[in-house]
Symmetry: C2
Subunit: 662 residues, 2 copies
């Protein structure tokens, strides 16, 4: 599959965009006219730069307001087109995008349109270039891709074809199957964009909310499947107008974009395998499988196979001063498993829940994590998550092909080497060999610590990491969704919005099908991403943003009440839940008085839905990390979202040292 | 008019919200349930705090999912209501908001609904409280305020009335005139919210995009006029769900909110005067005028009268090092009018365009402007704008009643004292006495400078400040729109979005009717509001945000080409416009070759529309300030928006010191 991207997707100057596209590995680009008009590079400079960078200049775009106009306006439009065709010759480009007319169309007559398009095609032919006609979803008369294709057929000129843009088709819920019947020689170009399903006017939706494939909710693999079956072999090019991507680091966004196409290519191949062409009937069914792909002219590359992780292997918290963390974990009932033989890390376990405390000093961590200046400012933060996978090597190879930045990990003799890479928020993701009994071989590298009372070790033999909640920088939220979708096969759920004293928190759950892994990505309010104005923290100076949003690891146990009582007896500093909460809980759920008293006594939170019940409590926060203990009863599948505002409000209150009355 | 606000409008804890509301001067508040549930304050604490702060607790809200349900669910709902009524007694509150059922309604039967509402009213009566029933715009069966009112009439119980919420009514485009016929004793509460007109699902629109009155596009004065005519005398209370307000400084937002009600009160009185009640016929017409108000039970306070400013009196630029500014202004053809007798400021003029250079050192400026830490980081910035008004005293009194923060201005003997206040972006706004001939008396306080060649002084006798373009912090954009609307009678125009290499810039023009004042508020991409990560600027450390977005003052002249030639001869550093721009211009407009050559030679930009033509050029940037010279031909009323992306791209290129080929 030939990959492409429109320069309008990216931030920066034309030169910066082209360089970033080359680094990310795109085959070609679409030049968005405004990027050229505003550039000091001459057309010849651009042509040479593209050649030097190994980028094909696939499409000049957009040409607007052409068809369905009176004759005098048409003459002016042809003159305008002539100037652009001459410009394209200087650029060495051969295809121009023509959008169906929105603003100046006044005559709704297919014959007239065909005549006008024919004259444009003729002019293009004289310049040795081609025109790809696209139906905009909000085109005045032409807004259906089948109409655009029908006009192209009517004109029947070798220099006029159609451009298929997934947004304009899928935003209108058009059926994509008819694409298969198109003459592939008349499909001059294919643009892909994904989008969240929003109910708003399609123009605003298109201009601001498009995302890269895999970051939205469109059925793009199906769309691409039909395109491939039609016999199209040209570029598959991203055209994504997105307010956030336009202001994010151009090189990162280009990599995110490239990842989306690599993933889409794999998904398209999978769709083709799962959906043999109807016309080919039984024969196709038999041929289903990897071999089936070869029958189509477009080649679809494969990736190392994906398999969803079975569970969390560990969570790692980095701390300059580890005392607070050690106290919390001990009080929760975790056992100290000793220090690592060669590294400054500790292992704490409860059942199969493993927490590594990394004693790396904050300053060294900041210097090492050049991609994450924020990390330097946080004295205690979640720094890594380990996942149990079937084959760490295959999963790591897949992540690498998906352009996940590798994390170098030194290993000593006899030590297990984890394959690792950096997530978009700079959290290190490690791929571990899961074992059926829930143990981990690498824990044997620890062990020189003091013993822990046996009754504590035996406390929660079935404990596991239930979920990990990570704060995401606003620029990289969509990127993170695609990252975990493509590299780890986690599935994004519909997102929730939770009120907090500093704004709404957008909460995106990513799941494996069997719920072995639950990852929660939280997009914190902007002010929490920057830290209070004028506040100074150690190491904060000159390091950019400071995050004050709190992240956490949640552990599931069988008996939360017993766990909470034991923790209380060990002196745990619970997050204190306001008395008003319990009154409201009673009004909503009509709980047994004794049970309600227990909840209140232990600062437990409660939720209930049709599937089951959820009990949980939070610890106080150390640095920007806290812990949660949960008990899932029945088939409860949520996270106590109705209780989240309580947590946010109490944490905010603590953070701001306000005088409280109760 | 009794003013109120729902706590859900604001950021922070319940205590912080209540304190901010009291400081802003609200008469009462609505307690949003979640704010109480998440608060450590007991109901008795809240009651005492409200009393101490002089705040009435107007409305407990919301109570949901009550009506149109089967009997077993109704029993549970009544039990839930009973708990809330008991809570309200502890709070000392007498009115609860009941929303029409969205989620659990299953029976569409008005008689059943009336019976269920009657049972709730009866229960409320037992507790001595009242229920205000509101039709949500997306209510399952009840979503029209007239239906809700009709149900209230059917029930006819003294403890059941209706709540009118402007959003739920105006978002659906319902006619508001029928409100006048409502029995005022059955209107228990009135909530007001404004909103921009967006085409999206009404629930998302409501939850995220509401704004305070005057910041959106709803006809709120008319809505209020009908409410007043109905005879309602209760609180007029803001209920505004807004993603930005939820994360902005609570005290500032509360003041912004209060300003919106003060303004709405005045607008409502004006609407009543302009629209005498239809039933009262000729008599009412005769009574039109201030006296007409007195006939309604609700008292509407008046403000000092508003009159739009006639023009700009001056613009002030603050600079630590003034050399760059002096050079630019001199090259543009401004004459140096000398230094001030007692202050460290210079006056530069061209025709009636006056620019003050304030030599205050950057560090002192930073210390003085505690509300604007950003200012400290900017070595050169627009610091003040003077407006010509009919009566500075009246305009200043009006601004003060609208809670604009006053700016203290020391004056020496014999010097003119300007009335001044601080705009939401911290720019100082001064109110000056305009003179019919365009001169300003205060310029006599300057004069000890060296002479300027006479031919330069005579260069552009008709020059004026055409517009001023100010960057707005993202948290205060809506506040700024209301501020200039209410305090200076500027009218917001539909906003534009302009592409830049660092993201879309939202550009909001505020105008006087005769175009004497054109103020452009630009909402820059977030990254430009923060400055590049890790970059260090003098004075930037520890001062929070740094803005890299550039602001400017534009001057209108009669002959831009002559002005540009003269500036070029004086060595002006023009913003260099790429050659590609002129090729595109030619393709679009088919300009005379000689004219195009002149544009290209002088780095002029060009635009044309049905009304006229626009020529303009930009200077290079000093600090974060640059200047623009414009010539308006015919009735051209824009700002060359199609050219703005060129400016942004070239300025970005300069800022980032990229190697350019041309």
């Amino acid at each position: 599959m030939r990959t492409g991207i429109a320069t309008v997707c990216l931030a920066g100057t034309l030169r910066e965009k082209m360089q970033a596209c080359a680094v990310a590995g795109f085959d070609g680009i679409e030049i968005f006219e405004q990027d050229l008009v505003t550039s000091p590079l001459s057309p010849e400079d651009v042509r040479k730069l593209a050649a030097d960078l190994g980028l094909n200049l696939d499409l000049y775009q957009p040409f607007r307001d052409f068809d369905s106009v009176p004759e005098d306006l048409l003459a002016a439009n042809l003159r305008r087109a002539d100037a652009k065709f001459r410009l394209m010759s200087r650029l060495g480009m051969d295809t121009m995008l023509l959008c169906s007319n929105v603003g100046t169309a006044t005559i709704d007559d297919d014959d007239l349109r065909a005549t006008q398009l024919s004259r444009l095609a003729h002019l293009a032919g004289e310049h040795g270039v081609k025109v790809a006609y696209e139906a905009l979803a909000w085109g005045k008369y032409v807004n259906d891709y089948e109409d655009a294709h029908r006009l192209v057929d009517m004109v029947d000129h070798p220099n006029l074809g159609t451009c298929l843009d997934s947004f304009h088709i899928l935003s209108r819920d058009w059926d994509t199957a008819p694409i298969e019947a198109f003459n592939p020689e008349k499909i001059f170009f294919v643009q892909v964009a994904d989008a969240p399903k929003l109910s708003m006017d399609v123009l605003s939706w298109s201009r601001h909310y498009r995302v890269f494939p895999g970051e939205g909710q469109f059925e793009l693999a199906k769309f691409m499947g039909h395109v491939v079956r039609a016999g199209y072999t040209g570029p598959v090019s991203l055209e994504v107008f997105n307010d956030v991507f336009r202001q994010s680091d151009v090189e990162r966004t280009a990599v995110d974009a490239m990842r989306s196409l690599i993933w889409l290519e794999e998904q398209s191949a999978a769709w083709l395998e799962a959906n043999p062409a109807p016309a080919e009937g039984e024969e196709a069914s038999k041929a289903a499988g990897p071999a089936a792909r070869r029958r189509y002219p477009m080649e679809l590359a494969t990736l190392p196979r994906v398999a969803e992780p079975a569970g969390f292997n560990f969570a790692e918290v980095r701390a300059g001063d580890t005392a607070g963390l050690e106290t919390l974990l001990g009080q929760l009932g975790f056992a100290f498993n000793g220090r690592h033989r060669t590294k400054d890390v500790q292992l704490w376990t409860m059942g199969h829940a493993r927490v590594i405390i990394n004693e790396e000093p904050a300053t060294a961590a900041g210097a090492a994590l050049q991609q994450a200046p924020a990390a330097a400012a946080i004295s205690v933060a979640i720094s890594a998550v380990g996942f149990d996978v079937d084959s760490p090597v295959i999963a790591a190879a897949r992540a690498q092909q998906l352009k996940a930045p590798a994390v170098p990990r030194k290993s000593q003799a006899n030590e297990e080497v984890f394959q690792g890479f950096a997530a978009p928020d700079s959290t290190e993701i490690f791929l571990c060999q899961g074992s059926p009994d829930g143990t981990a071989a690498w824990t044997r590298e620890f062990g020189d610590g003091p013993g822990v009372p046996a009754e504590d070790r035996a406390g929660n033999p079935g404990a596991v990491i239930d979920h990990v909640n990570l704060a995401q920088p606003w620029q990289h939220f969509d990127e993170a969704v695609l990252f975990y979708t493509s590299a780890l096969a986690l599935e994004p759920q519909p997102f929730a919005e939770v009120a907090s004293p500093t704004g709404l928190v957008r909460s995106q759950v990513m799941l494996t099908q069997d719920r072995g892994v639950r990852l929660v990505l939280n997009l914190a309010p902007l002010l929490q991403q920057e830290g209070p104005t004028g506040a100074s923290e150690p190491g904060a100076s000159g390091t950019g943003h400071r995050r004050t949003y709190q992240e956490h690891v949640a552990f599931a146990v069988d008996d939360l009440v017993a766990t909470a009582r034991a923790a209380r007896d060990r002196g745990l500093d619970f997050l204190r839940i306001p008395a008003n909460y319990y009154e409201d809980l009673d009004a909503r759920f009509e709980l047994e008085p004794e049970f309600l008293a227990t909840l209140r006594e232990l600062n437990l939170l409660y939720d209930r839905d049709a599937d089951g019940e959820f009990l949980h409590f939070y610890t106080a926060t150390v640095g920007s990390v806290f812990f949660e203990m949960v008990e899932r009863r029945g088939a409860y599948d949520g996270y106590g979202a109705p209780n989240a505002p309580v947590r946010h409000a109490v944490q905010y209150d603590h953070l701001h040292h306000l005088t409280r009355t109760s």
